[in-house]
């Protein structure tokens, strides 16, 4: 049960994760789940990032909640979400580059880096705004490190 103070601070439609021109429900479930996981990252990052930017007021309880969510999502085992043949060249509706399967160990390491950065963020996000702000870069950097190599440009 979300506390009223937190509920009030939430605004709808923070994150728009568009999969252009694709009927999402027709995609393979693994790809849908990947997109869902990314959308969960984005929603929680949106709450945290908007506070870090000063777009919304800092709310310690909400920051703790969103950062705990993010850390939990980032720490889930994803081995079932990335089957062979679900890359951008083979499957519709994905921008995952085939390179993921050529260097799976590195891909998994980059995924672990996100879990580490998100856990570090969760440790400080509920303390104060400065803590939240200082740890956002690590999470953003982990997102970018993987997208740099393994995601097809739009």
């Amino acid at each position: 049960m979300l506390k009223p103070a937190i509920a009030a601070a939430l605004t709808f439609a923070t994150a728009g994760f568009a999969v252009a021109d694709t009927d999402h429900s027709k995609l393979p479930p693994e790809i849908q789940a990947r997109h869902g996981l990314m959308a969960n990252y984005a929603i929680n990052l949106g709450v945290l990032g908007d506070m870090a930017k000063g777009k919304t007021d800092y709310n310690a309880e909400l920051a703790a909640l969103a950062s705990a969510n993010l850390a939990a999502f980032a720490s889930t085992d994803q081995s079932l979400l990335w089957p062979e043949g679900s890359d951008a060249m083979t499957a519709d509706g994905s921008r995952a580059l085939p390179k993921i399967w050529e260097d799976r160990a590195d891909f998994d390491a980059k995924s672990d880096d996100l879990a580490t950065a998100a856990t570090a963020l969760a440790a400080v996000a509920g303390t104060d705004l400065a803590g939240l702000q200082s740890a956002m870069g690590g999470v953003g950097g982990a997102c970018g490190a993987c997208h740099k190599v393994y995601r097809e440009p739009k």
């Binding site: 923070t14 997102c143 190599v149």
Partner: protein, 302 residues
């Protein structure tokens, strides 16, 4: 008689072309300013990150740590062939034996120590605008980076682009691209223009090119096709970039977009570099991007 004078004209023409396409080093005044500038490593490190050297010159998929190994080897596809970034670590295979003036001529005039033209995949037309003090500082910093012995890989470029001498003609036509003038008495805007155009070389990807690879100054930063084939590099003039100052600052620091996607591809490297600059410098870039003329997408742009 006529034949002979025609032959003479042709010979003169060929001679003139040979002379015009000769690699031209930096001016004496610039060289003097370079050798008298202090070897400031700290400033050089900031120049190094602002100029994004590591993004192209680390080995494929290598991390750009605090002291990156500039082994080279990354491939860059273009309409003219595939270019491979060379080793620029301070080793024998890289820039180890180079003097400051050889280095500056490479970076700012596109001329190698043995007097050949470099291909403009190396953004020397942007770096040409950098100050001698920044180039001297960059040289000093790069001597402190780790050595790598990987030999540089030859570019895979077909005829006629494999004739390096022809690049002399290219430089005459396109060697000094200019962006829109920004207010001369606003130091922040001036700094933003300097960072964007001279060091961070944003125009190299975000400005479209003509058939010969020259930048189109009328469409400065208004977006371009992605040379890798897929997608389009976005318009970052105010006509295409409607992010707030706060959103841009957050993007340049964390790589997260206003809707909390992240930068990808080469832009992820760019953001990693920008995140290492001072907040003032990032803000100057934001101010510059907000101040340049809005250039609408062309009807053919998707």
């Amino acid at each position: 008689m006529l034949k002979r004078s025609l032959a003479a004209v042709a010979l003169l023409g060929a001679g003139a072309a040979w002379w015009l396409t000769a690699p031209t080093p930096l001016s004496h005044a610039t060289e003097t300013a370079l050798v008298t500038a202090p070897a400031d490593h700290i400033q050089g490190e900031q120049v190094f990150w602002a100029a994004g050297c590591a993004s192209c010159h680390v080995a494929p998929d290598a991390e750009e740590g605090d002291a990156p190994l500039l082994a080279g080897g990354q491939a860059f596809a273009s309409d003219f062939g595939t270019f491979y970034a060379p080793n620029i670590s301070p080793s024998e295979q890289g820039i180890g034996g180079w003097t400051l003036l050889e280095f500056a001529n490479a970076v700012q005039a596109g001329v190698s120590p043995d007097g050949a033209h470099y291909y403009p995949a190396f953004p020397y037309t942007a770096y040409a605008k950098a100050t001698p003090a920044d180039i001297a500082a960059l040289y000093a910093f790069m001597q402190t980076l780790p050595l790598d012995a990987t030999p540089s890989k030859a570019h895979d470029v077909g005829f006629p682009f494999n004739l390096r001498r022809s690049l002399g003609g290219w430089k005459l036509l396109f060697g000094a691209p200019t962006g829109p003038a920004v207010t001369a008495d606003d130091p922040v805007l001036q700094r933003g223009a300097y960072l964007t155009e001279a060091l961070a070389h944003c125009t190299e990807c975000h400005t479209e090119r003509n058939a010969l690879g020259g930048l189109n100054s009328d469409r400065w930063l208004a977006g371009a096709p992605n040379p890798n084939g897929k997608g389009r590099i976005p318009n970052i003039t105010p006509a295409g970039l409607d992010w707030s100052d706060i959103d841009l600052m957050a993007y340049f620091t964390t790589g997260l977009t206003p809707d909390y996607d992240s930068a990808g591809g080469h832009m992820a490297s760019v953001v990693q570099n920008l995140a290492r600059l001072s907040e003032e410098d990032r803000m100057a870039i934001v101010d510059y991007l907000k101040a340049i003329p809005a250039v609408a997408d062309q009807p053919s742009d998707p």
